[in-house]
Symmetry: C2
Subunit: 500 residues, 2 copies
């Protein structure tokens, strides 16, 4: 195919509008080129047009073309020859198929693990790689198409107009003070967190917050309690810090340590008491007291990860576990990724008073925080009321999507699946019986273009809970019912034909 | 002192212009209030005016007032009562004195180390806390007052005007492609790094780059070679990852492993071959070959930290160690902190081809990179030629400052100190004899308002090299000679009265 023809062909593909409505342009271009390669229309070795010329010919921003090329490059469909352009690769990726969307399983690439250490393999090796494709129902993604970029640009401009030199420096004192004050106020009022402003540290997000706690409060080989099922990203960070992970089951009251668990004294307890991740239960008052008393008796630290707390839809706001703690054993963390946009890389960690100086020092020594300009813009965003407005709008949108999804999935009860009634933030949980192969059901869903996560992926050990985690934040409201029905049919088909 | 009087008093202090010319306004306000507390003019318990009213009355941005308050708060001179303002603290910080600038020594605060783990104490404990005051001659600071903020604002605006959704997401593929391409081109041309664009990862800076290498390539307890004296921040990161640090001496050819060192096989070698940090020597060709051959024979990894490579002033650009390596054992890293501004938090890591997939995965899993909008603006900054211009201007400025400083320090030879002729980037090295107490000389300099680092701080073990590291990037050109003369006198006084 000559270069001229490729852009014409792409224009045709794009105008035929065969793609899901909310699929970004760069994804459509990626899919179209991928398909062209798959169909043999673009032969191996063919040189692709320059991104500038494609951008002109398609009347699409160069960024958009570049994003499409980036994904093709990254996945091995094309290769870049330095100085002479981009070519269709001779060695197409393993397992290449005509499926328009990658399945949920990952192809192992052993040669890339050569040289990794044990902890490196556990953290990043091929068996641990997650597909990052964002499609309807991908958990962990929020709808940042709703983010008010014009307003945000204005607030950033305000800072860059006459930047105080300290805005360009590393963050030295735990973060930009007005932002820490705004967070302290918000947490005090809405989450009953007990704090003064100097206890607030601004971090680069949840990974970094957990990492800092692990490094400053534990030593290699120490034990950490984690919820099972639980947040795998937290597991990854705790593991790479050399901690022994001790999984604790959950029940309808949240993290549920048994007598056996109590004998396995941890240095650190990682928990999500406001709504258990991923199952959504709120930790009961009794369970909270139990955990706090136990932590005090063993001088263990509790990390309270209060993710998505802004998006609870029913009932009163849940008070934090930290607010109930009289013994300064709880470190409380949150993030702005889901309310603002993921790339903002801003979160916060509230530490007990006696740890403030060490944590500020550790934050600087180990992580060199910065981006104070963005912190300043965010402080204004909160103080001027935009944050509250934005959350309110998001909550309305998400509540609507959640209702529609619940409705369209209701029929899965026919095959013995259970749609959990628990409000879990930005996803629903469909529970299966123990013998169901939830990975297989998820794969079937992926073949229909829907990316859901098997609940068993969130668990550790032999007997894992089975089900699907279905994110609804990312899918457009007008499509939810349609996709929901497709998913319901997949689940019903999958559970009818279950292999014992 | 009533609130009204404080602002009037501050106005008087500020207009009398008793402060160093380039001291930022927020620092002057901080110093003035600090002085008022010290002189008893502001009594304990006095409520300070609101930041808004001070901002109005002093005609100074609220950010500026907030920055001053932040430092007072952080250092304990004032305390914030939530909901009712900021007060002069009753318990003034320990060791409070009338000295206008903190000394180089740190007051230990044991209660804040309670609860820290062993590795936590090593990373962040009171004995390891560094003062972050930036004054003339502080090493590690660059002059970001020269940073073209108007231009940068324009480039950021361009991205925010019509942001591609992928700009708001996490960075998934190792970083924004156009930025990686620009870096690849720059490194290929100016540093003879051998790479294709997919080997480039964008990280949040040097700390994060080293951290990623340590986590993916080593296990707890593995041995790492470090230069002695060397970069303490790298040491800190390697240590917290559980590595056994093996210090290797340096000589005029750079890192100088002995027979004894060769028997202590490392998993990782951290080195600064372009100019040794902090002493500045260029690693000779023969030493490079030796290191590369050794690493290959032991299957060790070499981390080449090419800091400040843009600021070499004499001779031809130095080729990278990585470019000489035939065995894919070198990971090459650099940073934008010193050329752009420290808070930008962007650096890069070039990994061997067989590690690309693992490192991209590890980068996402462990660090969740983002800030793609800033990466995009930086890509334009480089592609449009502003980066090269900015470096050129900075080099001219720094070269001038370096010359002036060398001239004013020349007389230290009278007392046996040696001004190293080696071009070390953004600092000069003044070498002392072994028996000199360089910490004492640095403290004397601090009492004169000049913050330099003792060379012994950069070393490990019993017999450390002695001297001073004098940064010249931050001090204004018109002040260098004056400050340099003061420092020369301090050095001469310090070495004349040396205690054995």
């Amino acid at each position: 195919m000559k270069q001229l023809v490729l852009s014409e062909w792409l224009l045709t593909q794009l105008s035929q509008n065969k793609f899901p409505k909310r699929m970004p342009t760069h994804r459509r271009i990626y899919e179209a080129i991928r398909q062209a390669i798959s169909d043999g229309v673009l032969a191996s070795g063919t040189r692709l047009p320059s991104t500038r010329s494609l951008s002109d010919e398609l009347s699409v921003s160069r960024n958009t073309i570049l994003a499409a090329f980036e994904q093709l490059l990254d996945e091995g469909y094309v290769a870049a020859q330095t100085g002479s352009g981009t070519y269709v690769a001779y060695n197409q990726p393993d397992g290449f198929s005509k499926k328009p969307i990658s399945t949920a399983t990952i192809e192992p690439k052993p040669q890339d693990d050569a040289g990794l250490s044990r902890r490196g393999k556990a953290a990043a090796g091929s068996l641990n790689r997650q597909s990052h494709e964002v499609q309807p129902f991908t958990p962990g993604e929020d709808d940042y198409s709703q983010f008010p970029t014009m307003l945000w640009r204005r607030l950033l401009n305000r800072q860059w107009r006459a930047p105080d030199p300290s805005l360009l420096d590393y963050g030295h004192a735990g973060g930009y003070l007005p932002l820490r004050m705004a967070i302290a106020e918000y947490l005090r009022v809405s989450r009953a967190v007990n704090l003064t402003v100097d206890q607030v540290l601004i971090t680069a997000g949840t990974q970094q917050s957990i990492d800092l706690c692990a490094r400053l409060l534990t030593d290699h080989g120490d034990r950490a309690w984690i919820e099972n099922p639980g947040y795998w990203a937290a597991r990854r960070v705790l593991e790479v810090n050399g901690l022994q992970l001790h999984p604790v089951s959950v029940d309808n009251e949240g993290m549920a340590p048994s007598t056996k668990d109590f004998r396995a004294t941890p240095k650190l307890i990682y928990t999500t008491p406001s709504h258990q991740y991923p199952k959504g239960m709120v930790m009961s008052y009794g369970r909270r007291r139990l955990l706090l008393d136990y932590a005090e008796s063993r001088k263990a630290w509790i990390i309270e990860d209060d993710y998505d707390s802004e998006f609870r839809f029913e009932g009163r706001p849940i008070s934090s576990l930290q607010g109930m703690d009289q013994n300064a054993r709880v470190l409380y963390m949150g993030t702005f990724s889901k309310v603002m946009y993921p790339g903002i890389r801003l979160g916060y960690l509230v530490v007990p008073p006696n740890l403030v100086t060490s944590f500020k020092s550790g934050l600087y020594e180990l992580q060199r925080p910065g981006q104070v300009v963005i912190q300043a813009a965010l402080a204004d965003f909160i103080e001027e009321g935009h944050f509250a407005n934005h959350i309110r709008r998001l909550r309305q949108t998400y509540a609507e999507r959640r209702k529609l999804l619940q409705k369209s999935l209701a029929t899965v009860a026919e095959v013995g699946a259970r749609l959990s009634p628990v409000d879990s933030g930005l996803h629903l949980v469909v529970e299966f019986d123990q013998e169901v192969d939830d990975v297989r059901v998820a794969t079937m869903a992926a073949e229909h273009g829907l990316r859901v996560n098997p609940l068993s992926n969130y668990g550790i050990g032999e007997k894992r809970e089975k089900g699907l985690i279905v994110g609804y934040a990312y899918a457009a409201t007008e499509n939810i019912s349609k996709y929901g029905n497709v998913l319901a049919n997949v689940i019903k088909a999958g559970l009818k034909n279950r292999t014992p």
